[in-house]
């Protein structure tokens, strides 16, 4: 029968970390001595020590996950990791399961949409996040970047997406696949054509 780690540590489920640590140290000292007893008592002492170490480790892990979840809401920390790993489909499935839609939920949804190239939906989710947390500077900065930088109708197309070190580099000459060389006479004749008679 698997024993509850809190029972092994001889503490309550809602005991503080200080109480759990104190109990752990006390029991560890006792079981460390017990394992040197003769016969069966010694064997039990060794087993108890091993169980104690495992139980303490379990409680530490569980308590730390709960801390992340309490900061971001249920499992949002996990979804955040999935997005960073590029698992957008998995992250979307987990988000869809959640009925509690906090500001951070909308923010994560906006990131998923952004990475899919669904910028209009991304903007809508950012606005929803800001409705719930109007003073959140992370959301404000993201929305402002999306609307003013990414959706600018006047930004310089020559430098967009070009890394700074490559900007200003000379562009190789384009001979227009050889038509840049066509004879002057042909060019002059053709300059009045404007494809008007084409469909």
């Amino acid at each position: 029968m698997v024993q509850n780690p809190y029972e092994i540590l001889q503490v309550q489920f809602d005991s503080s970390m200080e109480e759990i640590e104190a109990s752990y140290k006390r029991l560890r000292a006792q079981y460390s001595e017990d394992r040197f007893l003769e016969g069966e008592a010694g064997r039990i002492g060794a087993v108890n020590l091993m169980n104690l170490e495992n139980a303490y480790s379990d409680i530490l892990n569980t308590r730390s996950k709960e801390k992340i979840q309490s900061e971001y809401g249920t499992d949002l920390g996990e979804i955040d990791r999935m997005i960073k790993d590029g698992n957008l489909d998995g992250a979307q499935i987990e988000l869809d399961k959640m009925s509690d839609r906090s500001a951070h939920w909308h923010f994560l949804q906006s990131i998923i949409f952004y990475k899919k190239g669904w910028y209009d939906e991304s903007r809508a989710q950012l606005k929803l996040a800001l409705n719930l947390e109007p003073n959140n500077t992370q959301y404000q900065t993201a929305l402002s970047r999306l609307e003013q930088v990414m959706a600018s109708g006047t930004s310089n197309p020559y430098t967009m997406g070009v890394p700074p070190e490559a900007q200003g580099q000379p562009i190789p000459p384009d001979n227009s696949m050889g038509l840049g060389n066509c004879c002057t006479t042909l060019c002059l004749l053709d300059c009045c054509c404007n494809m008007l008679r084409c469909f």
Partner: protein, 294 residues
């Protein structure tokens, strides 16, 4: 539908205009060679852009010959000669044109669409035999789009996503067929955003007709405040500009990350200036734009 990806003539060098025309005429001539005269009517500026891009990206330089034009027999022009890539682009154009007409028949009906559809049918069957994978892709994406339309989806992204994927998948298929790099993420992003842009332009162009005939239009469903075209565009200007500008800008960024040499001047004119120019024309127009002659 087709005529939204055009050069900005005010910024275009003559050599690049000639190149654009050579590829436009190339589609027309290649269509006549393999299919006949009627399907030449499907030649358009958008497929011309694709024609130039693919030759440039795959580094396939076509042969140019000075030939007569069917519509202007006294004028000789430099025309791109048929090659296997041009043939594939021509077939893709027939498939896209046919499915677009089919979609219009389903959505809007009307004698002109039905008669155009029946005239194109046998040519469509031929192109489908030569490029079956592209036909499958186009069918799938139109089915997805039809489903969203039946749901009365008001999501600009969800609906334009079908077009983005349609164009990307078709282009990657042709690139792969011609042994080019079909894994480039910037290539995928470029065509995805170009596809979305074309969908948006078509929907904005059709606002008046769609409202009048109570047809599906994602902008009408999203904003719900249509009374008159100019008023609708003014009332929803910042939201519409956001959706379209971010798409155009993503296309520009992706284009800037592609290594294209020959034809780069023409292509960058279209991507940097042409898309924004066309969007501006549509936003400021009281009627349909796509019949503009370049």
């Amino acid at each position: 539908m087709y005529g939204y990806i055009t050069p900005d003539k005010s910024n275009l060098l003559n050599k690049d205009f000639l190149l654009f025309r050579a590829f436009y005429c190339g589609i027309c001539k290649t269509t006549a060679k393999y299919l006949g005269n009627i399907p030449r009517l499907t030649t358009n500026y958008d497929i011309t852009f694709l024609n130039v891009f693919l030759h440039a990206y795959l580094n396939i330089m076509p042969e140019f010959k000075s030939q007569n034009c069917i519509l202007n027999p006294f004028k000789r022009k430099e025309i791109a000669q048929p090659n296997s890539l041009l043939k594939d682009v021509m077939d893709l154009n027939i498939l896209l044109s046919y499915h677009n007409l089919l979609d219009k028949v389903i959505d809007k009906d009307g004698l002109k669409y039905r008669s155009a559809l029946s005239m194109l049918k046998k040519h469509y069957k031929k192109s489908k035999t030569d490029l079956p994978e592209a036909d499958k892709i186009i069918k799938e994406e139109y089915e997805d789009l039809l489903y969203l339309e039946k749901q009365n989806s008001s999501s600009l992204d969800k609906t334009s996503d079908c077009f983005g994927k349609m164009l990307t998948r078709c282009v990657l298929h042709i690139i792969r067929k011609h042994n080019g790099d079909f894994t480039n993420i910037h290539l995928k992003s470029f065509f995805y955003n170009i596809g979305k842009y074309v969908y948006y332009m078509d929907a904005l162009d059709d606002l008046k007709d769609d409202f009048k005939h109570k047809k599906y239009n994602p902008f009408l469903l999203k904003f719900k405040n249509y009374s008159k075209r100019e008023q609708f565009l003014a009332d929803n200007k910042s939201d519409i500009e956001f959706a379209v500008n971010v798409t155009i800008n993503q296309a520009i960024e992706s284009f800037n990350r592609l290594f294209i040499k020959e034809g780069r001047d023409l292509l960058s004119n279209i991507v940097y200036y042409g898309l924004r120019r066309k969007f501006g024309l549509i936003m400021n127009s009281t009627k349909k734009q796509h019949k503009e002659k370049i």
